[in-house]
Every structure is written in structure tokens, then in C-alpha cells.
């Protein structure tokens, strides 16, 4: 996914040796890449900022388990995927509690009713982004993640599987279900327009 730079390795060693400030180098280097992923997954800037922060905090706590041969960029990217996934699931649960309807037993996920976009979301949204956000709203957190990684981040099925800790076939199925739902939703939106 991302090339491991020598600077990352040195910074990681320094952090593990007790130099907390060195972690700042890693944050500065990878924040924008993670923000891009997070904003696509969550659909708004405020959540994306929180996801990036959570990802780095988790990475810091688990840094001792990071294998030096691995690529830090790839590792933190996967952590961010999980943080975003957690946030999406929490958000869905909160919204579902409020809406308390439209459960989808077939998918095991939760369909939520449309909610008005918040100011943050409006601030970053073009007309296309609003349409996309509406089209993706019916996806489960897993499907949304798989779709964003495949369609917007252009990751391969294997990379998605690795990021989500699932088999390639499961990742492929999630992308496929997401595409189906997005297309269905786009058709509905075109009719409503």
C-alpha cells in the first residue's frame, strides 16, 4: 500500500526507546493520507479527524507489537480502517436507536433513515458528494468500508481482505453487495429528483 520509509523506522525505534516526540514525525507524515481515507469512509470532516486521532492513539499503544519488517504506512492504514469501521458501527447504532425502524434481517446490518446533513457535512459536500453520501447511506458499515476501499481508494480485493481481516471472497462479496445497494439507491434518488 505505502512504502516504508527509513524515516518511519528510525522514528519508531526512537519512540520505543522513550522519545515520545518522535511519534510526532509519524503523525505529521501519515495524517493527510489517513484523513483522506477517513473522510471518505465517514463522510464528514469531524468524524474523520477523530478517526485519524484514534488510529494514531491505537498505533502508539500497540507500537511495541509492530514488526520492524512491516510497513508502517500499511499498518496505520489498517488501524484507521478499523477505527473508521468502529465509528460507523457506533454511529449506525446511535441512529438506529433514534430511528428504531428499517432493520434489515437479511443483511444482519442496520438500515437507517435519511437524516439531515450536519453543517460539517454540508461544508465539505458538493452536489456529487451529497448524492454519493445518500447513495451509500443504506450500506452496512462493512459494506461501506469495502466499497470505499475498492471504489474510491482503488485497493485490490486482497488488500481489502487484509485490512478488514476477512477472506478475499468475503471482501469481494461485500463489495458486490455494496455496489448492488448503491445502484438501487441511485435509481431511487433519480426517480425522486
Amino acid at each position: 500500500m505505502c512504502g516504508m520509509s527509513q524515516g518511519d523506522g528510525a522514528a519508531i525505534e526512537a519512540v520505543l526507546a522513550g522519545d515520545r516526540e518522535a511519534f510526532g514525525e509519524l503523525v505529521r507524515r501519515h495524517s493527510r493520507m489517513l484523513f483522506r481515507l477517513a473522510v471518505r469512509m465517514t463522510g464528514n470532516e469531524a468524524d474523520a479527524d477523530d478517526v485519524v486521532q484514534d488510529a494514531f492513539l491505537r498505533a502508539y499503544q500497540k507500537l511495541a507489537t509492530f514488526e520492524s519488517r512491516a510497513d508502517f504506512g500499511t499498518w496505520i492504514y489498517r488501524i484507521a480502517v478499523h477505527c473508521a469501521l468502529d465509528r460507523l458501527q457506533r454511529r449506525r447504532q446511535d441512529e438506529a436507536r433514534r430511528v428504531s425502524e428499517d432493520n434489515d434481517p437479511e443483511e444482519g446490518g442496520v438500515q437507517v433513515a435519511d437524516s439531515k446533513p450536519d453543517p460539517e457535512r454540508l461544508a465539505i459536500s458538493t452536489e456529487i458528494a451529497v448524492l454519493q453520501e445518500a447513495a451509500m447511506r443504506g450500506l452496512t458499515a462493512m459494506e461501506r468500508t469495502a466499497f470505499v476501499l475498492r471504489h474510491l481508494e482503488e485497493r485490490s480485493t486482497e488488500e481489502i481482505a487484509a485490512a478488514l481481516d476477512v477472506t478475499p471472497n468475503t471482501a469481494k462479496q461485500s463489495v458486490y453487495r455494496a455496489v448492488q445497494k448503491v445502484r438501487r439507491r441511485l435509481t431511487q434518488l433519480k426517480v425522486m429528483a
Partner: protein
């Protein structure tokens, strides 16, 4: 060959788009031939392309080149304290001790300097007057460090952010804390202004407004006042501003002012 399923079309769309040799690409030869020959599948594939084109990546908000820096300020503020290894700990310990010794020397010098000064200036008065009553307040000297001030301010703002107006026993102590912070805040703000540090001046000015608002609520903070102050904090991005300053200001632990308690420097 049978018509291509929707799943196969999706797989073909992405394998073609990303040029990645993922599972299923071995069939692409036969599928490609079929797509060329079958108008129905070609139409289905074209429809899929149109739909997915509507989901093409849009321009993302530009967070600017300092995003990494801002994120580090957030992350650093939330990092758990981790004990440093022995080599580093010893160094940190010596540095801490040196700093503490410096502060202690400064306090002592200020205290005795103040007493000496007071002594010199009060003698003529005392000679001409009766002895001052024993209960006259003696001015105490306190040392304030910018880093500590920002720490306390951040704590206050966080408590304020989560304050519940239904719990006055938790909210009302905030007014006392705001009063305690106000004098030092003004001293540091004036210093920052004099030294030409616009970021610090602006943040401390915002902080001053909020602290003043809280400190003046002698009867306590009601729900409306709390809401107004929270809105003011949010509008200024005050908490974030203070966090950034707290973690990034290189002089935070060196900027030390000696003040008379409850007054200016």
C-alpha cells in the same frame, strides 16, 4: 457462453479499472469476447459503468500543510503517559530537578526581594505611625508558569464543555477556578503582545473573554449562561487552540512570571 451475472460484471469493472490481476481475471478473455458479441451484456455493463461513474471520487477538503502538526497536537494531548527507559528517565529527572531548583531559587529571590523592598518603603511610614494591625493582609508572591497555566485552562475548558447545569455543585467551582486563572492570563497575554506573538496573544484574548464571563457569574452558572459560553468556546475553537499552544509552544515551561497573589505581576 451464458450471459454474465451482475457479480461478474462488477468484478470485471474493477479488475479493468484498477488493472490488478485479482481472482477471476483468468476468465476475462472469454468474458471480453462475450461482451463484444452480446448486446444485452454490453448494455448491462455500460449501465453499471454509468452508475459507478456517479460515485467517482470527489475532491476532498484540503486540510492544508499544517494538518499533520495540528493532528500531532491532538494526539500528543491524548497520549497516555508512558514511563521512559532508564537512560532517558535519568536525563529527564536531572532536567526536571534543574528546572525545579531554578523555580525555587526564583521564588526565594522574589520573596526576599519583595520583603526587602517592602521593608525599605514601609519604614518611614511605620516610624510615623503606630504599628499596623496584626490582621493586615500580607501580600504573597506566587510563581506562574505558562505551561501550567495552559494546562489548568485546558482542564477548565474541558470541564466546562461537559458541564451539566443540573449539577451546580460541579459547575460552581468553575467560577472560582476562572477567577484564579484570570490574572495570570492577562499577564501572559500582555507579555505575548509585547513580544509580538500573535497566535498566543489571540488565544489568550479568547481565553480572557471566556474566563471573564465565567468569573463574573458570582451567583453561579445557569443553563443559559453555560450554553452561551460553550457556544463562544466552539465559535473560537478555543479548546483546540489552547491544546495546540500547550503542546507546541516551546517556551511554555520557561515562561515564568512572579506575581502578587490575586493581582498583576
Amino acid at each position: 457462453m451464458n450471459h454474465l451475472s451482475e457479480e461478474e460484471l462488477v468484478e470485471r469493472y474493477y479488475n479493468g479499472a484498477a488493472n490488478s490481476g485479482t481472482a477471476g481475471s483468468g476468465q476475462t478473455g472469454a468474458e471480453a469476447v462475450h461482451l463484444d458479441e452480446c448486446a444485452e451484456c454490453a448494455a448491462a455493463f455500460a449501465a453499471l459503468e454509468v452508475d459507478l461513474a456517479a460515485m467517482r471520487p470527489v475532491e476532498l477538503p484540503d486540510k492544508g500543510e499544517y494538518y499533520g502538526e495540528q493532528m500531532w497536537a491532538r494526539v500528543e494531548a491524548a497520549l497516555p503517559s508512558r514511563s521512559l527507559p532508564a537512560r532517558k528517565s535519568r536525563l529527564a529527572l536531572w532536567r526536571g530537578l534543574a528546572f525545579a531548583a531554578g523555580c525555587a531559587a526564583l521564588v526565594t529571590a522574589s520573596f526576599y526581594g519583595g520583603r526587602f523592598y517592602e521593608h525599605l518603603h514601609q519604614r518611614p511610614v511605620l516610624q510615623g505611625q503606630r504599628r499596623a494591625p496584626a490582621s493586615s493582609p500580607q501580600q504573597k508572591v506566587v510563581v506562574v508558569v505558562l505551561g501550567d497555566h495552559l494546562d489548568r485552562s485546558e482542564r477548565l475548558l474541558v470541564e466546562l464543555k461537559h458541564a451539566d447545569p443540573e449539577s451546580p455543585e460541579l459547575v460552581n467551582p468553575l467560577t472560582e477556578e476562572a477567577r484564579a486563572l484570570l490574572a495570570a492570563n492577562r499577564v501572559f497575554r500582555d507579555d505575548a503582545q509585547r513580544e509580538g506573538d500573535p497566535a498566543l496573544t489571540q488565544a489568550l484574548s479568547h481565553l480572557d473573554q471566556v474566563l471573564t464571563e465565567i468569573a463574573n457569574r458570582r451567583s453561579g452558572l445557569d443553563a443559559a449562561a453555560l450554553e452561551r459560553i460553550k457556544n463562544q468556546m466552539n465559535a473560537d475553537g478555543l479548546l483546540f487552540e489552547v491544546r495546540v499552544l500547550r503542546s507546541k509552544n516551546p517556551h511554555r515551561n520557561k515562561t515564568v512570571r512572579v506575581m502578587a497573589r490575586g493581582g498583576a505581576a
